[in-house]
Amino acid sequence: MTSERRVHPYIPNSVPEIKAELLKEIGVGSAEELYSQMIPQRLRLPRRMNLPEALPSELDLRRHVEKLLSKNISCKDYISFLGAGCWQHYVPAVCDEIARRAEFLSAYSGENYSDLGRFQAFFEFQSMIGELVGMEVACLSTYDWGAAAANAIRMGCRLNGRREVLVPATVSPARLSTIRNFAGPLAMPTHIDIRTVKYNRSRGLLDIKDLKHKLSSRTSAVYFENPSYLGVIESQGEEISYAAHEVGAEIIVGVDPISLGLLAPPSDYGADIVCGEVQPLGMHMNCGGGLAGFIASRDEEKYVAEYPTHLVSITTTQREGEYGFGYCRFDRTSYAARENAKDWVGTATALWSIVAANYLALMGPSGMREIGEAIAQKSHYAAELLSEIKGIRIVFPQFFKEFVVNFDRTGKSVARINKALLKKNIFGGKDLTEEYSELGASSLYSVTELHTMEDINKLAEAVKEVVR
């Protein structure tokens, strides 16, 4: 910047005269003098930072960033079958409108009165999540599904004082890694032992025999997902819950809420705590930046007391018939209790709570049922077409929107197939070869309401050519 351009549009007091006036008022000659009164010279950076030339003109900046980003190809350019924890669903225009409302976008942590609308939207999010999962308590959205699952597991451990948790071997490896980080290493006395339970290799369901073998009075909780990371609908929920409850363990179920207009809510098959991923409910994938987790449970004091996250409660005001909102049991949170809190709460993904509320209000019960049906039909259609290709096998029969495709008998690796599909403007499914070596050359395909019959036919044609 040349000296006459020192006034930056984001900094009103960068006008030299104003700055001089302020300096005079505070009794120093320069910013340098002010800093010298606060920070010892030996800790000061003795030079200017070496940074690229600034682009203070908005137009220059826009051009620069647009040029960088033009190197990307998006799922709007190509047909994508990637999912695995972040899925391409349609985002209604009204959701985008609300997500960019300056009031919501720029607010932070104002109190109950000045930020009434934000609090009410949070309560509505919790209310609609509660309806979907069949629970009376739900929290404001947290970081992502993995963090929510980890928090839920730690809630379970605090509830019954046990430190062993069973999870199916089909849990997402990334989520499992997050859960293990929250569980801590063995060397620490607070360590939670996360033990995996085998899965049925032909159906992808939890191996009940192995589960029963591993369940004991030490088991704090059983956590499973529905649909699982590998797309499978876990239909043994009641049996799993019964076995876990027999030994006094909690049942924690992770869900993809987009399925819950069609699939039974976890409360139907014995869940004590539910968690999951909010991203499908109105968030763009945002290169993974659309993720947001949630936790829900029954409305029992002992559960509420263990939530680490914010819980927004409705209340009344001094005016008849008027609602107010506020944080329930704020004293449990780390803002109030520091190291004695229930884990921690921090800035996470609140805007996505607001957008998800908007999405669910748009969809309503009929929309959620219809989208569930459309996804199930389209994913099964895609699986059928692929299964007809020589050398290709659909590994698990019972799925919702994602399914595992095995290429073993094509003699080609998933990496090679995906590279070839890329040339045909298709993002193939997530390569599972490393994560699940026992499944061979397998790939996780995701099909949503966004895929047309034409898209799916194109995929089948392309795969047919690629594996030939």
Partner: protein, 520 residues
């Protein structure tokens, strides 16, 4: 300064908006799902036949049924009853760095809306370049650190990454069983205590010298031992006081065998002025939704950008973005890594906005933002010390980015405390201020942070509101105690929020409890 009488004649919007669950009528639709093509339907049949029978939902979720204009209207009304930073002089929310988030960056962030994080590297070179350059060009200079990770979805989660790195470091050294204590200070953010505790550490909290407000180096010396895993601290602290012995602190901790983590959630007034590296830290993090201009989003999405020394780089979560001189890559093959704390690559749009903001600023701009923030804070001080009932605790004169003020005097003299004043300032169209985390330490605290976004007049106007409320407190304390008077709603019943019989986190719980009360 404006005369106190010149504060705004404001009233918040009063929409008396019902909860969405009460709106609409049966059969209304807000959006339609595309019809499934006939070819698909003929092929696979009904959806209900594709799902195990017992897994089909029997009772539809009781979601509201609303047409599209009704939904939009409802959420627009809620947005109007939210006093976002863009609408007001919002620096009362100190420690939060309520700076302007440039709108152009929203447009730019939308360009990656439809990218999947698992796409082939070749197809996300633009994204990877931004991630790499924001770390290796900007944060490298700002922090002096060597390697970077943007996966943490907020400041607290970044502390978790740091805690996991400390854990892994000591684990691989075979010392984790012994080194299980993390030291922090009471004026560091509560996450610096809560997160290490979640990670399994015992937390030791140091208190400041009561006179100066400075954390005591003697106390640190007494606290370190062979049990010390590390420190996790802020500097400047919430008081705005910069610990001038910070390099001595890191030396003491290193000597004891611990690692030093620097919570730089608020680094706004020290960018280009002083760095983590020269202070001797091993790791730090920046809140990109604060210092680097990404919007706060009503409380996220956010990003805590973790920066570490070369020695600790091997512990970073996977994947790490690398550059071979030609192409950018995602490196998953890092055997010492702590693994994952968050799925995929983190909040990439937040990093993109931070990159764009930093490019707009450049070296001079970043430094200007820092300097003006510090100047604004000292200027606000000049305004606030003149207000009756307001005091500045601790003898340390100069404060960097913010000051933790006290209304203890006002409370003693009028009975009006910091919570009352906070409900009153919103009547004049400024956002409620941030008080302090708990425990308060400073009695009746509040913590404004007038960062570079705010003009001289903004600062004068904000001070005028506080001046006005102070006058009211001394003349008519009841007026302040019964505030707010010009808000969207009247005073709420706070007792219900903590009462299991009356609290309700969902509409269904509210309806059930209300019904039960009506029957009794």
């Amino acid at each position: 300064m404006r005369k106190p009488s010149e504060v705004r004649n404001y009233h918040a919007p009063v929409w008396s908006e019902p909860v969405v669950m009460e709106l609409g009528t049966h059969g209304e639709r807000g959006i339609l799902v595309p019809e499934v093509e006939e070819g698909i339907r003929n092929r696979v049949g009904k959806a209900s036949a594709l799902i195990p029978k017992k897994m089909l939902r029997k009772v539809p979720p009781r979601l509201p049924e609303l047409s599209q204009p009704q939904v939009l209207r409802h959420y627009l009304r809620l947005s109007q009853m939210t006093l976002g930073m863009d609408l007001n002089i919002d620096f009362g929310e100190g420690t939060c760095t309520m700076k302007y988030s440039p709108r152009v960056n929203e447009d730019l962030a939308e360009l990656i809306a439809d990218i999947h994080p698992l796409q082939d590297e070749e197809t996300i070179q633009g994204v990877l370049e931004i991630l790499y350059k924001f770390g290796h060009v900007f944060l490298k200079e700002i922090s002096g650190m060597s390697e970077f990770c943007f996966q943490a979805g907020g400041g607290s989660e970044a502390v978790f990454v740091n805690a996991c790195i400390m854990r892994r470091y000591h684990e691989l050294n075979g010392e984790l069983g012994q080194r299980n204590e993390i030291i922090t200070t009471i004026f560091s953010h509560p996450c610096d205590a809560a997160v290490p505790a979640t990670a399994g550490f015992k937390v030791i909290t140091l208190y400041p010298d009561q006179k100066t407000g400075m954390p005591s180096t003697e106390a640190l010396k007494a606290a370190v031992s062979k049990r010390t895993a590390g420190i996790m601290i802020t500097n400047p602290e919430d008081t705005g006081i910069f610990n001038p012995e910070i390099d001595e602190w890191t030396r003491i901790v290193h000597e004891a065998g611990g690692l030093c983590g620097y919570d730089q959630a608020n680094a706004n007034a020290i960018m280009g002025i002083t760095r983590a590296r020269e202070a001797g830290f091993d790791m730090c993090f920046f809140n990109l939704h604060k210092t680097f201009g990404s919007p706060h989003g009503s409380d996220g999405p956010a990003c805590g950008a973790v920066c570490v020394t070369k020695e600790l780089a091997k512990f970073l979560p996977v994947p790490v973005v690398t550059y071979d001189g030609r192409k950018y890559h995602l490196d998953y093959d890092r055997p010492c890594s702590v693994g994952k704390v968050r799925d995929f690559l983190g909040n990439v749009p937040v990093v993109l906005r931070a990159y764009a903001w930093s490019m707009s600023m450049g070296e001079e701009g970043l430094r200007e933002a820092a300097e003006v923030s510090a100047i604004n804070n000292s200027y606000l001080e000049k305004r606030l010390v003149k207000i009756r009932g307001v005091t500045k605790p601790f003898s340390t004169k100069r404060r960097v980015d913010q000051i933790r003020w006290s209304l203890e005097k006002m409370k003693e003299e009028t009975g009006v405390g910091v919570l009352d004043v906070n409900r009153r300032v919103v009547d004049f169209g400024v956002q409620s201020y941030f008080l302090s985390h708990h425990p308060w330490v400073v009695p009746e605290p509040f913590t404004p942070e007038p960062c570079e976004t705010y003009s001289k007049k903004d600062i004068d106007d904000w001070a005028a509101v506080l001046h006005k409320v102070s006058e009211e407190a001394y003349l008519n304390p009841e007026l302040v105690k019964t505030a707010p008077h010009r808000s969207s709603i009247a005073r709420i019943d706070e007792t219900a929020l903590d009462d299991p019989k009356r609290w309700a986190m969902t509409w269904r719980a509210y309806a059930r409890k209300k019904g039960a009360r009506a029957r009794n």
